[in-house]
């Protein structure tokens, strides 16, 4: 009698704890995209190169705070629905800019946008290498790469 009462409560809490374990397992993922535990990755990468860009962070604008983990695929930025970063910004074009990986470096190129893309203060006319932490300005949105 008492056993079933306590047992049920324990099971109920076990369910909650099981759910919390799932929450914990992707606590460190910057966005929903990066899911593997970061511990493994950091150890492996340390040996090979010091600072590689691992994520793209939106620092200003409507989407501020959004992080996208970089996995080697090109990142499309613009108002089009299928962009990696979808902007709702009157100053951004449908297909505004692209970030792509060449070798170990990320390059930004403008895809013929109306208002242009700026790397720090320079207008992007040809593909430019993006160092870590340098702001890229697209309309009202500012993004940067971080390790």
């Amino acid at each position: 009698m008492q056993l079933t009462r306590a047992g049920f409560l324990i099971l109920l809490w076990l369910f909650v704890l099981a759910a919390l374990r799932v929450v914990r397992s992707d606590l460190y993922a910057a966005s929903g995209l990066r899911v593997s535990a970061p511990g493994f990755r950091r150890d492996k990468e340390k040996g090979r190169r010091g600072k590689a860009a691992r994520q793209l962070v939106v620092t200003h604008g409507a989407l501020a705070g959004t992080r996208i983990s970089l996995e080697g695929r090109p990142i499309l930025i613009g108002r089009a629905d299928d962009s990696t970063l979808v902007l709702d910004d009157d100053y951004a074009s449908t297909r505004h800019a692209r970030l792509s990986l060449r070798g170990t470096d990320w390059y930004v190129e403008d895809l013929g946008s109306t208002n242009g893309t700026y790397l720090d203060r320079a207008k992007v006319t040809a593909p430019l290498r993006v160092p870590l932490g340098v702001p890229i300005r697209i309309g009202k949105t500012v993004i940067e790469l971080r390790s």
Binding site: L9, F15, G72, D88
Partner: protein, 491 residues
């Protein structure tokens, strides 16, 4: 104590492999975690049913097992639909909803048993069980859940229908207040029901979701309007007076609901959601302060004008002032919770039927009595987890509309639970909302399954890897690092 605790995402096969050099790594879908948790939930529900039947001295037959199995099959079907149409959706949302819904069903059945017994003893007409009806609603809710996953392939398509949803939501919200008596009969003072002979629905529950879709798309399109700086006052940027239109419109609607439909709960919920979505869209606390002062003003006026508001406030301040009539419900709920104490009386051992409407608005009091504080805390945590995962998906999704809608939907669950449980425990006046998934009530259940389906859709969009349009080039070293190779001219 290592019962089925699923490991993180069923530890996906290739997750431990190299990552940055192998970008075609697929994130785990976590569907096996979801299935495991669903099975756990089905087990819990069956167990609780066994406990109820045992403690109520009913014969425990194989039938109980069949109910558990049917529960698992129903949610298994929903799980398969998620696997098929939203493979990267969040793995926790559906199991949490399933467990809450299952516990609610068991509690409604348990109250049925008590009511049947007490009506038999007093020689009245025998209480008609309400649990079977709720099971039908659950099945319908899951059908609707699958249908939404099937129809809404991408949540951004909803943004394009924003104004349509807004109009439909307003009509649905206003309908019961405007329609004449045979179609909308006041129940317990609130005029929020539409009667259709066989069933009655509460259109407000659906209006809530439609209006949230409208607000998300409206705020995304008109965000600048709300961030234009006005005068600075007490460290806050107050909006300009002419930008106040939308918030005043929302306030008028919520006051209209309060006056025409006499429904405090919907009014509070609606206005709360509007405020929070405005705050999320603009990040300006001024809107919340402004909205809250408007709301408090509205409440004070309503308190002066309406007797039903006065009664509720009196019941809140003095729950024991009229125990045999007006405050019977609040007082019995408090007595029930006190009887439950820390660990509860055990499922099927309490007297939750003493509280009027224990199966709808006061189901948390019934659960608190039989599961105690410990059990009720676990149930509240389940709601918290549900909202947490929704908010997390909203953070991770990459478009503003998805962010706003996801956050609004998750917050709606939180606010509703707060209003319900706060009312039952007399933290705030009772408002007459249903606890999502737990309470008896078809419309509420259907609407909440729609809400869950939308959240799963948003979380699927957030976690789904980006489709690669062109085939992967092998990574080549940077131009500067490439060595020069002498090639001999073919002669």
């Amino acid at each position: 104590m290592t019962t089925p605790v699923p490991t993180a995402g069923g530890s996906p096969g290739g997750a431990s492999g190299p990552t940055s050099t192998a970008p075609n790594l697929q994130p785990p879908t976590r569907r096996n975690t979801e299935l495991l948790l669903l099975a756990f939930a089905a087990f819990m529900v069956t167990l609780s049913l066994v406990l109820v039947e045992g403690n109520q001295e009913q014969a425990i037959t194989m039938e109980v097992g069949y109910y558990g199995l049917a529960f698992l099959v129903l949610f298994g079907a929903a799980h398969l639909a998620v696997r098929r149409w939203a493979p990267y959706a969040d793995p926790l949302i559906l199991p949490c909803a399933a467990l809450l819904n299952g516990l609610g069903l068991v509690m409604i059945h348990r109250i049925d048993l008590a009511k049947i017994e007490s009506t038999l003893r007093r020689g009245k007409t025998v209480w008609e069980p309400e649990a079977p009806q709720q099971v039908v609603w659950t099945a319908l809710g899951l059908v609707l859940f699958v249908a939404i996953l099937l129809v809404v392939k991408n949540h951004r398509t909803l943004a394009k229908l924003g104004y349509t949803f807004g109009l439909a939501g307003l009509v649905a919200l206003a309908l019961p207040g405007i329609l004449p008596a045979p179609l909308s009969r006041p129940v317990n003072g609130a005029k929020i029901w539409l009667q259709f002979g066989f069933a009655s629905i509460q259109p407000g529950e659906f209006a809530k979701i439609m209006l949230m879709i409208f607000f998300a798309s409206f705020l995304v399109a008109k965000r600048d309007l709300f961030t234009a700086a006005g005068r600075r006052f007490l460290g806050m940027d107050l909006p300009r007076a002419r930008d106040l239109g939308p918030i005043i419109a929302a306030w008028l609607v919520s006051i209209g609901v309060l006056v025409l439909e006499r429904d405090l709960g919907s009014s509070l919920l609606f206005f709360g959601i509007v405020l929070v979505m405005l705050y999320i869209a603009t990040e300006r606390a001024a809107w919340v302060v402004l909205g809250l002062s408007l709301f408090v003003g509205g409440c004070l006026v309503a308190y002066q004008l309406f007797s039903h508001v006065q009664i509720r406030v009196a019941n809140w301040l003095h729950p024991l002032h009229d125990v045999y009539d007006k405050s019977l419900q609040v007082a019995q709920a408090l007595f029930g919770l006190a009887t439950g104490g820390l660990f509860g009386t055990g499922l099927g051992n309490g007297r939750p039927d003493l509280v009027p409407e224990a199966q709808t608005d006061y189901i948390t009091a019934a659960l608190g009595e039989e599961l105690g504080f410990v059990g009720l805390a676990a149930i509240l945590l389940l709601y918290g987890l549900l909202a947490l995962r929704g908010l997390r998906s909203a953070l991770a999704v990459r478009d503003s509309f998805g962010k706003l809608l996801g956050a609004g939907l998750s917050f709606a669950v939180c606010l509703q639970v707060f209003v319900v449980v706060g009312g039952v425990t007399t933290l705030i006046p009772v408002t007459g909302l249903t606890a999502p998934f737990l309470s008896k009530g078809g419309s509420s259940l259907l609407a909440n399954y729609i809400l869950i389906a939308l959240l799963l859709r948003i979380s699927d969009a957030a976690r789904r890897p980006q489709p690669t349009s062109k085939p992967k080039r092998p990574p080549q070293p940077a131009i500067a690092d490439q060595s020069t190779v002498m090639v001999e001219r073919p002669s």
